[in-house]
């Protein structure tokens, strides 16, 4: 039996289809779930609102990539723009545009889930067999140190100079050419994204994948989802074409990610007394930019190959963070840099000499945190109202991490370091670190971003405090599962894709049993 990928341009009249399982979303959660279910012999239909974009289009051109591969063209953000949200939107979801960093779920986090949320199903022992298969299939391996680009070398050398813990990142790549354009779609299919690996594997085994098809509402009656109603979107304009797709499955799996999955449930009146869309975790990212005498060329080379978890646990009441670096390509860099017009243009002339460092904050672990709340936005088709609640612990950690990043950059030889405040703080040596204390540490006074969205449909044993149970089944419906980053009850402290891969492959067993 062979399946097919059907794109929006092929869908000219309404379609109704029956199947065992409908999977909504084709990213890290949906792809592995669908793959395992077709292997079990189930008939599976997948709906993906983004387009089917392949290396034929991946020309390493920023505007084209952001237009085709990111939610809201890369402009998704909190309502007040206090956090920029980078999130994938195409066949393969975030795996098409992420930077390949692959970590298993930390033991510490699984322990917290067990102790605080009653999740006894997910343990290192339960997930390890799945991770082993996944790592083999996706060629997940440590990136060789000799292939490290100069941008990562800044972090590596800074960590070494200060005696901080450091490590080399494992990446899901095969025959990687070390180009540096992972975030724009890999032009040689070296990145083992879902769209070139697990999804085509599943199509070979019978998966039918509708691209450009946005699930809008779940019909449900009593304790059963009876249908998924979707609309076909124009591949270019993203506007509905008027063609509808209705899927009538025995079981439905929502895998749209930590913002769109809650959105679909809310449109379907599945609110869990308001918990759907609450406690969404962003791994808020702070950045510091450094100028070096030598060329860094942070636009080329594997984007992320070094990490440090030196500050992942900072003591009671404090938020931890981990350190990595991003690629620095011109369009994205110009929108992230702060300062007046002429100042930004001047900085852009130094692009080849710039290093940017990331401190990724582990939110969702402190009792006072609410994280982000996602709600429907009146009149909007693909936008949501998103509010993130910063706490004093965030600002303390943000300030501390910016100081540490500056120290690392100077230790690696930076001439000058600059914060990304609205009114940037410029440091000429470590003696200037105190200047950061005088900066404004509040929302909309400095750049904060997220590339890891988690929570919003959190799992837990207690139906009064969670959305799905420890087997990822929606508490009050018998044939609805959520399998993506939205089920994570906290953030992770590592890049999330491998956690979601593992959970999805694990979950497919009991989802299959529910058919």
């Amino acid at each position: 039996m062979t399946g097919r990928i059907i794109t929006g341009d092929e869908l000219t009249k309404d379609v109704t289809v029956e199947c065992d399982v409908c999977v909504i979303g084709s990213g890290s959660g949906g792809a592995w779930t669908a793959h395992e279910l077709v292997k079990q012999g189930k008939s599976v239909v997948m709906l993906e609102e983004g387009g089917y974009h392949t290396r034929r289009e991946f020309d390493m051109n920023e505007p084209r990539a952001f237009q085709n591969l990111y939610q809201e063209l890369g402009n998704r953000a909190a309502d007040d723009l206090s956090i920029t949200i980078l999130q994938g939107r195409s066949v393969g979801g975030g795996t098409t545009v992420n930077w390949c960093s692959s970590f298993r779920t930390p033991e510490r986090i699984l322990k917290i889930w067990k102790e605080r949320h009653g999740i006894e199903t997910l343990s290192t022992a339960a997930l390890t067999p799945h991770w082993e298969v996944i790592e083999q299939r996706l060629h997940i391996a440590q990136w060789p140190q000799e292939m490290m680009n100069a941008n990562n070398k800044v972090l590596w050398e800074g960590l070494g100079a200060l005696g901080y813990e450091r490590g080399l990142i494992r990446r899901n790549v095969n025959n990687c050419l070390n180009l540096g354009y992972c975030g724009l779609g890999c032009p040689v299919d070296a990145k083992q994204s879902m769209s070139v690996t697990v999804l085509p594997d599943a199509v070979e085994k019978g998966l039918t994948l509708y691209a450009n098809t946005s699930a809008r509402v779940l019909d449900w009656d009593g304790r059963k989802v009876t249908a998924v109603r979707a609309e076909v979107l124009d591949g270019t304009t993203r506007k509905p074409t008027g063609v509808k797709v209705v899927v009538k499955p025995k079981v439905t799996v929502v895998s749209g990610g930590a913002i769109n999955s809650p959105g679909l449930l809310m449109r379907s009146q599945l609110l869990s007394e308001g918990r759907v869309g609450e406690k969404t975790w962003f791994h808020p990212v702070l950045m510091m930019m450094a100028e070096f005498e030598h060329e860094v060329n942070a636009f080329h080379g594997a984007p992320q190959s070094v990490y440090s978890h030196h500050f992942i646990e900072r003591g009671p009441g404090k938020m931890g963070y981990f350190l990595e670096v991003p690629p620095v390509q011109p369009m994205l860099a110009s929108t992230v840099l702060t300062g007046a017009g002429a100042e930004t243009i001047e900085l852009m002339t130094k692009l080849k000499h710039l290093n940017v460092m990331l401190a990724i904050h582990v939110d969702g672990l402190l009792p006072e945190e609410e994280g982000a709340t996602v709600r429907l936005r009146e009149g909007a088709h693909s936008r949501y109202s998103i509010k993130y609640a910063f706490t004093p612990a965030h600002w303390e950690s943000f300030r501390a991490s910016c100081k540490e990043m500056a120290k690392l950059q100077f230790a690696a030889g930076a001439k000058q370091v600059r914060s990304l405040h609205v009114s940037p703080v410029t440091l000429n040596s470590v003696a200037d670190l105190g200047k950061l204390d005088d900066a404004k540490w509040e929302a909309m006074q400095l750049r904060v971003a997220t590339a890891h969205q988690m929570g919003g449909c959190r799992m837990g044993k207690d139906p009064s405090t969670s959305v799905v149970d420890p087997h990822l089944k929606y508490h009050s419906l018998d044939n609805l599962f959520v399998v993506d980053g939205s089920v994570l009850p906290t953030s992770l402290g590592v890049n999330p894709q491998e956690t979601i891969f593992g959970i999805a492959r694990w979950a497919a067993t009991h989802i299959g049993q529910a058919v």
Binding site: T2, G3, R4, Y52, T54, R55, R56, D59, M60, E72, L73, D79, D80, L81, Q136, L179, Y181, P187, D189, A190, Q192, V196, P200, V203, E204, T236, T237, P240, K244, M266, R267, S268, Q269, L271, F299, P330, M331, S334, T335, A340, G341, A342, T344, I345, M348, T349, R375, L376, R377, E378, G379, A380, H381, S382, R383, S385, V422, S423, M444, Q445
Partner: protein
């Protein structure tokens, strides 16, 4: 076309964030009205192939804004050469209707002479001000205590910056060599299943042969 609206009983954002809050609401009201709003904007020729998102007035405001967000510098292409305002117009054809509406509201708020008079004693529209006054207005927005203005500055600045630096014409000035040539294959096969054999590539996988007698494959 909207096929599905939020169901009754759901909790949508009650109003656009730009309209939320007393000061924000009052400011946006100023964006569309007031005596001083009747003052004219500068006139700018629209692009030869027309406008898809902006009105002629909005296009003129974005053009004026782009001159200040990206002041001309030796060695860089001008914003006119890159057609920044046209680029913004085209980008906005792809965004959610609510985002387009909010962008238009922000542009009119930036342009309106009344808030510019109230906040800075400048009784002219943004697009007709001197460059120094325009810079002063943008700085006021950037550093304002009113969230709406800071948010608006970030949104409009980002739009203009993205439209400018997305152009390869800017790359020589910033020393960006662009992607390595000869890598992208515009004729690469696109496989969609349906019984067609899948081409062998980096994404295909053959499971290793099982080990025999606990050792040799």
């Amino acid at each position: 076309m909207k096929m599905y609206l939020p169901p009754p009983g759901s909790k949508p954002a009650r109003r656009s964030v730009l309209k939320r809050g007393l000061i924000g609401g009052a400011l946006l009201a100023l964006g569309g009205g007031g005596f001083l709003f009747t003052r004219k904007s500068v006139e700018v020729d629209p692009p030869g192939d027309g406008l898809l998102s902006f009105t002629a007035r909005e296009f003129a405001i974005v053009t004026a804004l782009s001159y200040r967000v990206i002041p001309h510098r030796e060695g860089f292409p001008t914003v006119d050469a890159v057609q920044v305002a046209r680029g913004c117009d085209r980008i906005l054809t792809l965004v959610d209707e609510t985002a387009l509406t909010e962008t238009k509201q922000l542009l009119m708020l930036l342009e309106n002479a009344l808030p510019n008079f109230l906040f800075g004693r400048r009784a002219r529209t943004f697009s007709t001000m001197s460059s120094d006054d325009q810079d002063a207005v943008l700085t006021e927005w950037q550093t304002s205590r009113i969230t709406l203005r800071r948010t608006g500055y970030t949104a409009l600045r980002g739009l203009v910056m993205a439209a400018y630096f997305s152009s390869p014409a800017t790359w020589p000035a910033i020393g960006y060599p662009g992607p390595l040539p000869g890598i992208h294959d515009p004729n690469a096969p696109v496989w969609k299943g349906g019984g067609v054999e899948r081409p062998i590539g980096n994404g295909t996988f053959r499971e290793p042969a099982p080990a025999v007698d606990g050792g040799t494959p």
